[in-house]
């Protein structure tokens, strides 16, 4: 069965309103949200690839990368909702998850850069409500405000720059387009929490509930990165990047700073959720370097890294949340929730790009192309990967420092099971990498063609 994309988006939007209406009846809101997400996932999987539909003269079309991303992100959302429903009740999470799903599908299906950007902006604003909880006991309200400010700043700047780029006559001096591309890059860096624009993410990582953090790092950050690559392709600004190396240098500098800075911060973190969040920031840096190389392998690797990091981060953040909750005031340890602890460690394999998981080819491509670009760049990325590896090892040792007398699976091991499912997905993807990489390679081909349109 197929459903036109506007109907799928409208259906998800309607479902989020229904979930909002029944949000305080957890026994109803939880299963309803999960079922809506699973139906949307099945419909996205069955959607005819490349077939256009139109709404108010806006073209909607799901390309192979759009379909892959929709399936991965809706799957991650479903895992988050399952954990919130069964293990960590938070009534406002359900409508938020469905509204985010609406924004995800809309961002991936729209083919006008301005409309795509507006849908992404909406999606990034939606979790503000979920970030805030027990405001008298923590700084979650401040974290939510910072996130709001960063998103508003990046969102408005990006829309304005895209609109200006579209409205200016093409006979402008190159510096005008370079300025616009720089504004767009900074607008996305603000939303991606790339270093040095990461202060809101750092506060979120320590103050916000784990599922809400998973919503940001597992769904919205990957969506933002993929939207960035697609908007660059569709906006017609890529030739300006090729002509003037400064923009490419800016992207490379941003990427290397994020990769090394994220790895450094992850290595120094003692909290599990911070280790996961900074590992994502380090991986985003690697992905930015991949895009900045403007090469096929770099782009394929970048998008693969981002998608896998989102799934791995969700797995780790859910596990960290379960471990923290069960440990109470003590430091999280495996004795209280062994399955969640194992899920956290398994998520670390995805974050460092270890084979045979599907995270390996992406990292291999980006580091290989970085070495061919310059030895220093390649070395910096390898050092960043080693930093993330050390951070993950330290976190694993800290969790397993207390050996329980006998291993017994925790009661309601929802985070552990969700982690196992994500790990299984990454393993299957690693055994059949061509099925995962083919849609990304098709997009990389479009990206390369957009670089030199004539």
């Amino acid at each position: 069965m197929t459903l036109p994309l506007p109907a799928l988006i409208a259906g998800l939007g309607l479902a989020s309103l229904v979930a909002f209406a029944v949000r305080k009846r957890l026994e109803l809101a939880g299963p309803f949200t999960l079922a809506a997400l699973l139906v949307a996932l099945a419909l996205a999987l069955a959607a005819p690839v490349g077939e256009p539909s139109e709404l108010l003269q806006l073209e909607l079309r799901l390309d192979p990368l759009g379909q892959l991303t929709a399936v991965v992100l809706l799957g991650v959302l479903a895992a988050l909702v399952a954990v919130v429903w069964l293990d960590e009740p938070a009534y406002n999470f359900f409508p938020t998850a469905l509204a985010t799903a609406t924004a995800v599908v809309a961002t991936l299906a729209l083919s006008s850069p301005i409309a795509m950007y507006a849908a992404l902006f909406l999606g990034l604003l939606v979790p503000v409500g979920s970030f805030t909880f027990q405001i008298h006991r923590n700084r979650s309200a401040e974290a939510a405000y910072r996130h709001y400010a960063f998103v508003a700043l990046g969102g408005s700047l990006g829309i304005a720059a895209l609109a200006l780029a579209g409205s200016l006559p093409r006979d402008q001096p190159p510096v005008t387009f370079v300025l616009l591309v720089v504004v767009i890059v900074i607008a996305f860096a603000l939303k991606l929490a790339a270093i040095p624009f990461h202060t809101h993410a750092a506060l979120l990582a320590s103050e916000v509930r784990a599922p809400a953090l998973g919503l940001y790092f597992g769904v919205l950050v990957p969506l933002t990165f993929i939207a960035f690559a697609r908007i660059l392709t569709l906006s017609g600004l890529l030739p300006a990047i090729v002509q003037i190396a400064k923009v490419q240098d800016l992207l490379l500098a941003l990427g290397v700073t994020s990769a090394l800075g994220g790895a450094f911060l992850a290595t120094g973190s003692t909290e599990l959720r911070r280790v996961a969040a900074y590992s994502v920031i380090a991986n985003i840096g690697q992905a930015l370097v991949g895009i900045a190389t403007l090469s096929g392998p770099g782009i394929v690797g970048a998008i693969a890294i981002v998608l896998v990091s989102g799934a791995g981060a969700t797995q780790q953040l859910l596990a960290a949340g379960a471990l923290e909750r069960r440990s109470g005031t003590d430091r999280p340890n495996a004795a209280t929730a062994p399955l969640a602890a194992l899920a956290f460690v398994a998520g670390g394999f995805a974050m460092i790009g270890a084979p045979p998981l599907v995270s390996f080819p992406g990292r291999f491509f980006v580091e290989m192309i970085a070495f061919s670009y310059s030895g220093a760049l390649g070395t910096a990325l390898v050092v960043a990967t080693l930093g993330v590896l050390v951070a993950q090892l330290r976190a694993a040792i800290a969790i397993f420092r207390v050996a329980p007398d006998h291993w017994r699976v925790e009661r309601r091991p929802v985070a552990g099971i969700a982690g196992a499912l994500v790990f299984l997905g990454l393993l299957v993807g690693g055994l059949q990498p061509q099925r995962f990489l083919a849609p990304i390679a098709a997009f990389a081909d479009t990206f390369i063609r957009a670089l030199r349109p004539f």
Binding site: S112, V126, V128, G129, A141, Y145, Y148, A160, L164, G166
Partner: protein, 195 residues
């Protein structure tokens, strides 16, 4: 030009307001004047959607204030943000617009075919919004900054080619969501202050 003056004056009024309710009313003035600047290029449907979104956003902030006294004193931030906004408007306009081949006619009242006043208003709103947001201490001025920036971005989108009614609908929804999220943060901030 007259509408541009109205946008600038209303922005200064919103920026200088100590009370959230006054800020909300001033924002409504900014938004309506900004959308009227585009003149006959904007269809009635677009104008209605824009006006509804502006009214809803202002109403959301008005209600979030809960009483007439709640707000945030801008203090020195008013002058800093005004100076920064004026300087960056001039700089951005100089760098990002080339009018060498355009026939520019500026009139006090009436149509602006070159789009100059619309662009200046857009740069002014964007710069003012950024300056207010970056100097804000809390969600009250933060929300105003976010809404002004978005209004500026909406004016730029009006100049871009593409399905304008669809863009208007999307950006109007965005404006309401920005106001709702801002109001949510204001209510939380107040709850924290009062305990």
């Amino acid at each position: 030009m007259l509408l541009l003056g109205l946008v600038a004056t209303a922005t200064l009024a919103a920026n200088g307001a100590r009370r959230l309710r006054f800020m909300a009313v001033a924002f409504l003035g900014v938004s309506l004047a900004a959308h009227l600047i585009a003149g006959p290029a904007t269809s009635l449907a677009q104008l209605s959607v824009n006006a509804t979104a502006a009214l809803t956003s202002a109403a959301v902030l008005f209600v979030a204030a809960r009483d007439g006294r709640y707000g945030e004193d801008p203090g020195w931030r008013l002058w800093l943000s005004t100076v920064v906004a004026a300087a960056s408007t001039a700089t951005a306009f100089a760098f990002l617009r080339t009018v060498a081949t355009a026939d520019v006619q500026i009139v006090l009242l009436g149509e602006d075919p070159s789009g100059i006043t619309q662009e200046v208003a857009a740069f002014w709103l964007l710069s003012s919004g950024i300056a207010i947001l970056l100097t804000a201490r809390g969600a009250v001025r933060g929300s105003l900054g976010a809404l002004l920036m978005l209004s500026g971005a909406q004016l730029f989108v009006g100049l871009a080619p593409g399905p304008q009614l669809a863009f208007t609908l999307l950006l109007s929804w965005l404006e309401v969501v920005v106001a709702l999220a801002g109001a949510f943060l204001i209510v939380n901030e107040r709850a924290l202050r009062e305990t």
